[in-house]
């Protein structure tokens, strides 16, 4: 399609240029520039018109609103006088308070010992023989035992 347009433009160009009038040439040049510019503008306008008419455009108002709310939120939370966001917990919504280390006690399902909840994971690691600490401890004690034996 574009080829057809270019062909028509070139035909018109030669028709005008073949006339001997020199002053006309500047006019012709600007005429063609105008045509090309119009074409480019129409391309963009057509694309945008299609997007808008078919309802494919993103709701920019909503997006602006979301960004505004986000900026507002960050400002309020960063404000040192805002106690709600930065306060330490006193009670939770059920009116309960909790220690820094969970104090519930239950039995380890691997070895059966009673363990404090907040220390369960480190205990379990050693109990299951996993992790660096468990292996390092074994090495130390076996080295110590070997050293004791060798004395």
């Amino acid at each position: 399609m574009r080829a057809l347009i270019i062909l028509v433009l070139i035909t018109e160009f030669w028709r005008i240029m073949s006339a001997p009038d020199e002053d006309n040439h500047a006019q012709v040049a600007s005429h063609f520039f105008g045509e090309l510019l119009d074409s480019v503008i129409m391309d963009v306008a057509s694309e945008c018109h299609r997007i808008a008419t078919l309802g494919l455009d993103r709701n920019l108002d909503d997006e602006e609103e979301e960004l505004r709310l986000s900026a507002q939120a960050r400002a309020r939370v960063a404000d040192p006088s805002n106690s709600e966001a930065n306060s330490k917990y006193v009670v939770d919504i059920f009116g309960q308070t909790h220690p820094a280390v969970a104090s519930e006690i239950f039995d380890c399902m691997n070895c059966g010992r009673s363990i404090v909840a907040g220390r369960f994971a480190p205990h379990l690691e050693k109990c299951m023989g996993k992790g660096r600490k468990a292996r390092v401890k074994a090495t130390r004690s076996s080295t110590a035992a070997a050293a004791a034996q060798n004395r």
């Binding site: 018109h49 299609r50 939120a73 480190p122």
Partner: protein
């Protein structure tokens, strides 16, 4: 609209006045229709389809795959019937008079939603607690376990494995939804997970996303053995896949001939790179020199679905050209999951420098997310100038509107950070910081450093009652308080 031969002439307009029924003209340069009666550019599906077919003839069969006449009746998406049966079970549970289920949609302040219970930190286990809180409130997962779909007794009898994460999660669901508000210790779950994930078992801070993927894997493995996975073209019907599984489409286009090859891959989440190329500047506020612009979750999704020129060292073999050429890759979402988990890649691991770092940058995210611009039909249509044409198995049958229900945040440093979950129940946000459950305003959540965001599909309100593809829940005419997909209680 003007004539190409002479821009001053209005013979096109005159023609329509003399010839009745000749109001439509064609812009041959752009292949667009113009109506002199409407005095505007107009759009027609049949015309677009004709244009499309002209354009893609010769590009190979792959591109023709998706094009069908929109007059053809669409095969109704055979959605998993298991989901609707979930709700039949749920009705029974609700009807039997469990007090917690009779709550109306708007709860009074003194009456907190069910399923809200702190989880004790067992020693650097906030990564586990935060993921559990999100799972506890993912609607399909919650409904599955609360309606007793995982029978612990028969699971124990029929399985030789000593450890089953589904059984452990079932126990947690019972405990958390029991009404008891004292913090619960998910010790058995931790133990089972360590026993099943040898390589990750150690007393160290774990990555919450890695943990989440690992849990989904373990549950799927177990259920995959017991459930029939060969029904419905190989799709898995275990609870995690029904909740989180979607389908990604990858299009690779040869830059030389335009031939596109398409592949589909299932996914349970979408990992997003930070989009540092931010161009949205608010027109009203003066910009500080240090202000780099705000990064948004939607811009990360834009980046994910943007056409990406593959490097010259990654030349792919083009079937059409019969040789290797440079190509362009573009991702899109073919099928959206019921629960969309978006993972923000904040932790960069550089193999070269053998170091990791955390990106602390704030990421704005919407409470309501419309995934329309990122689905395959939208992306492919955009590639062809937004022409109107029907897509095989158009995703429009499923809702593209999502509502956030859980956000996992990470604060602090890479090695010594802290995970927390914000849950949205009945339009109120709750902060779940291990054992501590507190109420917070929208603002606190908006300002937080998001790491994993969980969205639930909103039911399509425009669906007529007879036509649902099973993607949403109809409310019972008797007004029973069904647990809807995008809410709670």
């Amino acid at each position: 609209m003007s004539c190409s031969l002479s821009s001053e002439s209005n013979h096109a307009l005159l023609h329509t006045k003399t010839q009745i029924g000749h109001e439509i003209a064609v812009d041959i340069q752009r292949s667009e229709l113009y109506c002199f009666a409407c005095d505007d550019q107009v759009y027609d599906p049949d015309f677009d389809r004709a244009v499309m077919l002209e354009k893609i003839v010769g590009l190979g069969n792959e591109n023709l795959k998706g094009i069908r006449s929109i007059n053809n009746k669409r095969k109704r998406l055979g959605f998993d019937g298991g989901l609707s049966s979930d709700f039949k079970n749920l009705k029974r549970v609700g009807g039997s008079g469990g007090g917690e289920w009779d709550h109306g949609r708007r709860l009074s302040k003194s009456c907190f939603p069910v399923g809200l219970r702190g989880l004790n930190n067992l020693g650097n286990t906030c990564f586990m607690n935060s993921v559990l809180q999100a799972l506890l409130h993912a609607p399909p997962v919650r409904n599955y376990f609360l309606s007793g779909r995982h029978d612990r007794d028969s699971c124990r009898k029929n399985s030789s494995d000593r450890f089953c994460l589904s059984c452990d999660i079932d126990v947690i669901f019972s405990a958390v939804f029991s009404g008891d508000r004292a913090p619960y210790s998910p010790a058995q779950f931790l133990y089972s997970w360590w026993r099943l994930s040898e390589n990750l078992a150690c007393y160290e801070q774990q990555d919450a996303h890695e943990f989440f993927m690992s849990v989904l894997d373990r549950i799927h493995e177990k259920e995959g053995k017991t459930r029939n996975t060969n029904k419905d073209n190989g799709e898995c019907h275990c609870v995690v896949h029904r909740a989180f599984s979607g389908l990604l489409r990858s299009d690779v286009t040869c830059t030389t001939c335009g031939y596109t090859s398409t592949t589909y891959d299932p996914c349970v989440d979408i990992s997003l790179d930070f989009n540092t190329n931010v161009d949205h500047i608010s027109p009203n506020k003066p910009q500080k020199s240090t202000d780099l612009g705000v990064s948004t979750l939607t811009s990360c999704l834009d980046l994910f679905t943007r056409p990406e020129k593959l490097g010259s060292d990654q030349k792919l073999y083009c079937q059409n050209c019969q040789e290797r050429h440079e190509s362009v890759k573009q991702m899109s979402i073919k099928r959206l999951p019921l629960v969309l988990c978006l993972h923000v890649k904040r932790f960069e691991h550089s193999l070269v420098r053998k170091a990791s770092r955390k990106i602390d940058r704030h990421l704005q995210f919407p409470f309501s997310l419309d995934m329309t611009p990122y689905v395959s039909s939208s992306i492919v249509r955009k590639r062809f100038g937004n022409r109107i044409f029907a897509f095989e198995g158009d995703e429009a049958e499923c809702s593209t509107n999502f509502e956030v229900f859980a956000v996992i945040t990470h604060s602090g440093m890479l090695e010594s950070g802290h995970y927390m979950t914000y849950l949205r129940l009945n339009e109120q946000w709750y902060k779940c910081d291990d054992a501590w459950i507190t109420e917070v305003d929208d603002e606190v959540v908006r300002a937080s450093q998001i790491y994993l965001v969980f969205y639930a599909q909103k039911p399509n309100s425009s669906h007529k009652s007879g036509e649902d593809g099973g993607c949403h829940l109809r409310s019972s005419p008797s007004g029973d308080s069904f647990v809807s997909i995008a809410g709670c209680c």
